[in-house]
Amino acid sequence: MYSQVIDEQPVSSDELNAQEALFQEKIDNDIKIEPRDWMPDGYRKTLIRQISQHAHSEIVGMLPEGKWLTRAPSLTRKSILLAKVQDEGGHGLYLYSAAETLGVTRDEMYLALHSGKAKYSSIFNYPTLTWADIGVIGWLVDGAAIMNQVPLQRCSYGPYARAMVRICKEESFHQRQGFEMLITLCKGKPVQKAMAQDALNRWWWPSLMMFGPPDADSVHSAQSMRWKIKMNGNDELRQKFVDVCVPQAELLGLTIPDNKIIWNEEWQQHDFGEVNWDEFYNVLKGNGVCNRERLKARVDAWEDGAWVRDAAKAYAVKRQRSSSL
């Protein structure tokens, strides 16, 4: 990181403009930006915010699904879920590492999460109430994540783009597993199908919110798109998601809880109802069903683990001393 500190010595505005122009040219020509390359401060900050938020979402996302590990109804389902939740933790790791290349430490990112300064996806503040939620999360939440993340495999920042390639492969596996689980439920007893319908009713709208507010209200979009760290508009991706999910729900024999969904022949896409953005902003503010619980779980894990991390440091120091003797 030292080279970047030197780069950030005061430069004249002409020089800066020239550097920025060169930077933008690289991006326009799809040349990846790597950690040691010069980058504008805003690019660095925006990326740190975006990647760490994504990492936090993976980690917090382990909590709602983790709750069902001990209640999974078969040994096969239990293995699948355990492996899935472990994958999500792995995604968190890749993403924290990608963010670290921008000159922020993992501990700093954790502290930002714990203080409420950094956000994570609003979806994980909803509760998992039945086993069917695990299937619906795989289908819709991992599905929406894929929709958001596949384009980011082409984003301008090298480490982030490469992390996305690895993550997307696993997410699509999760999505298929979730859907397969729902097929089993929907073909099963009436009560299983009712469970699946109830889960869809609760998760549908929050899943649509995962794409973020309407483009018109999206604060950082334009600059991020110029920098190619955001590749598509929120509304465009949301539309794509609805179009993919409608036939899937039909296949399952489930009803999406939106009576405005209808095929629009002219636009060759589905019309759908208005998302309740008040709810979205409320959850972002911390007023979702599980916000406090999720954050507390992370803070507790951090605080309860302090003595372990201290011991690891102390032990490393002792080892270093004895090996340098």
Partner: protein, 248 residues
């Protein structure tokens, strides 16, 4: 009368220990002190679950009462479970979990090395597959035992308390004094002393001390458990019990 009573008893003992310990370890998900450790714990939980399935599938084949590994996991009553009390004990803090695991991994490796030489190919096969994983589990729990034992004063004291606390539960693993266990020969070869010897290097490196108390819990293999198991089973079996005969 079942001709394979010894094999059945052995595979239930191995399967249940792994299944219940895996359950406990999976409870750490989202709560571990370091992200890397969280993934490692989930990994051990996943390995043990896989091993439990192999043992329980074998048990189901020779059992006259249960047809599948899932039946054994989800339909048995508490008194039919054969695991030791150690694996039922709550996770406690991270050091508690490490010590419980260190005791278990040492025993697990020793018993698998023995079972690997079994004339029963099925048993030898499961042992061989498991052994690869368990060697790694032991490496990890031993490392953490040393690190926490020889870390700070606080971590040292915490670990010593954990070492003392789990001792009588862990001794049950080597308890050959129980009737009708079905494979006393196997267990007898793994005496208490062999197991204690296997611990001593790491415990010394960790600057910890093993307790001298002789008292050992017993009864797991006859289906007598601590209260914790009833809660574990209530949680684990809730769906199959609420909706009998359902495919998931």
């Amino acid at each position: 009368m079942n001709n394979n009573i010894e094999e059945l008893s052995l595979s239930l003992f191995m399967g249940d220990n792994n299944l219940i310990l895996s359950h406990r370890l999976s409870e750490w998900t989202g709560h571990a002190p370091v992200l890397e450790e969280e993934l490692a714990l989930a990994n051990v939980a996943l390995d043990l679950l896989g091993q439990a399935r192999m043992w329980l599938e074998y048990a189901a084949e020779i059992s006259e009462d249960y047809k599948t590994a899932d039946d054994l996991a989800y339909k048995r009553e508490i008194w039919e479970f054969r695991n030791v009390a150690l694996v039922e004990q709550p996770n406690g803090h991270f050091g508690d979990t490490i010590v419980r695991q260190f005791y278990y991994d040492n025993w697990h490796k020793l018993i698998l090395e023995h079972l690997y030489q079994s004339e029963n190919e099925r048993i030898a096969g499961i042992a061989e597959k498991s052994l690869k994983e368990v060697r790694y589990h032991l490496e990890r729990s031993a490392q953490w035992t040393v690190l926490l034992g020889d870390g700070t004063e606080e971590s040292h004291n915490k670990l010593q308390t954990s070492v003392n606390h789990f001792w009588p539960y862990a001794l049950e693993l080597c308890n050959t004094n129980t009737a009708n266990s079905g494979f006393d020969d196997d267990l007898a070869s793994l005496s208490r002393q062999t197991w204690i010897d296997s611990l001593s290097n790491i415990i010394a490196e960790a600057t910890l001390q093993l307790p001298e108390t002789e008292f050992s819990y017993s009864g797991g293999r006859e289906g007598i458990h601590t209260e914790h198991l009833s809660l574990i089973l209530a949680e684990m079996q809730c769906l199959p019990r609420a909706y009998p005969g359902t495919q998931w």
